[in-house]
């Protein structure tokens, strides 16, 4: 219990930061025609902000489960790397607890768990202290955003529809590691815009991701050739 509380306290700044994002998510989801119950259900079951933002971007009526499931897979594929990394540091977890803990592997929780593993002992109680309060706040703020959404006005006029793209732009800048990243981003942007103009649906996300990965592999191969 002590471990749980200490971890929750360590997590507090990130919990505060996620609150407005949850509110905006709920408000924009409501403006796309989702009921508050649907918004809360999505936040509770998916619990991955990035993919939920993207889902709102490509939401249709009726919703297309194939397009939305596919885009969630693409946007969240980074979790594979995150769980592969933290997965090697779960010595204090029983088998089932390992898998259960991965269900709540959001970026912020992962980052804090990695930090704990590097300078302390990552226990199930510590992980729960990071994950459970953060999870509850995400679900509750998205529900509140959906309920308050109508009072926040037309998102196009207030610019709130731009909040998601803006979050992504900030996250992209966070991934910047020099010229190599620039090449990946340029390839992705070019392929995505081109595909977006030519094909309907979310294929532009797949095209951009594929182009970025190809460029990353090519520049890696070139670096090895030089070495």
């Amino acid at each position: 219990m002590q471990e749980f509380r200490a971890a929750a306290i360590a997590m507090t700044p990130l919990i505060v930061a996620v609150m407005p994002i949850g509110l905006v998510f709920g408000a924009v989801a409501a403006s796309k025609g989702l009921a508050p119950a649907e918004v809360a259900l999505m936040s509770a079951l998916v619990f991955a902000g990035g993919s939920q933002f993207v889902a709102m971007d490509i939401w249709t009526h009726p919703a297309s489960w194939a397009a939305l499931g596919f885009s969630a897979l693409l946007v969240n594929i980074r979790h594979v790397l995150m769980s592969a990394s933290i997965g090697g540091k779960l010595d204090n977890f029983t088998g089932p607890a390992r898998y259960a803990s991965m269900l709540l592997l959001a970026d912020e929780i992962w980052a804090m768990a990695e930090m704990r593993a590097s300078n302390g002992k990552l226990t199930p109680a510590w992980y729960a202290g990071l994950a459970v309060p953060f999870y509850c706040v995400w679900v509750l703020t998205s529900l509140s955003g959906a309920l308050l959404g109508a009072f926040l006005g037309d998102p196009k006029v207030t610019g709130l529809d731009f909040a998601f793209p803006a979050v992504f732009i900030v996250l992209v800048m966070g991934f910047w590691k020099g010229r190599e990243t620039g090449a990946v981003l340029a390839a992705s942007a070019f392929a995505a815009v081109l595909t977006h103009q030519l094909l309907p649906g979310v294929w532009y996300i797949a095209a951009g991701a594929a182009a970025g990965v190809v460029v990353a592999l090519l520049s890696g191969a070139r670096k090895e050739a030089h070495a």
Binding site: Q52, S64, H79, T158, G159, A166, V172, L217
Partner: protein, 99 residues
């Protein structure tokens, strides 16, 4: 509070896809050692995906969105996440009024 069936299916599909990625790494490290190339490809995926998502908004929606996207990117180099997002939201709202 009625939940639409198509919406429910979409949410479940998203949940299954997301859970697969979260469990995926645990399963992966039991069977595969991740080499340099695999790591490089996996590392390129998040920025490439995020860029692909924003590219149509940032480049082919309109001048207000393009300028606001650039302003957000510049802000992100100096300001924390929330402040940068605020810069983007406020600038797009103002630019849409003007342009």
């Amino acid at each position: 509070m009625i939940v639409d069936l198509n919406t429910l299916l979409a949410i479940l599909a998203m949940a299954v896809a997301t859970i697969a990625t979260r469990i995926g790494g645990l399963v992966l490290i039991r069977y595969v050692t991740i080499g340099e190339n695999q790591k490089r490809a996996l590392e390129a995926i998040p920025p490439a995906v995020l860029m692909a998502v924003i590219a149509p908004t940032a480049f082919v929606t309109g001048p207000a969105e393009t300028i606001a996207a650039a302003a957000t990117a510049v802000a992100a180099m100096r300001l924390p996440l929330l402040a940068s997002v605020a810069v983007g939201v406020v600038s797009v709202a103002l630019l849409r009024l003007v342009l």
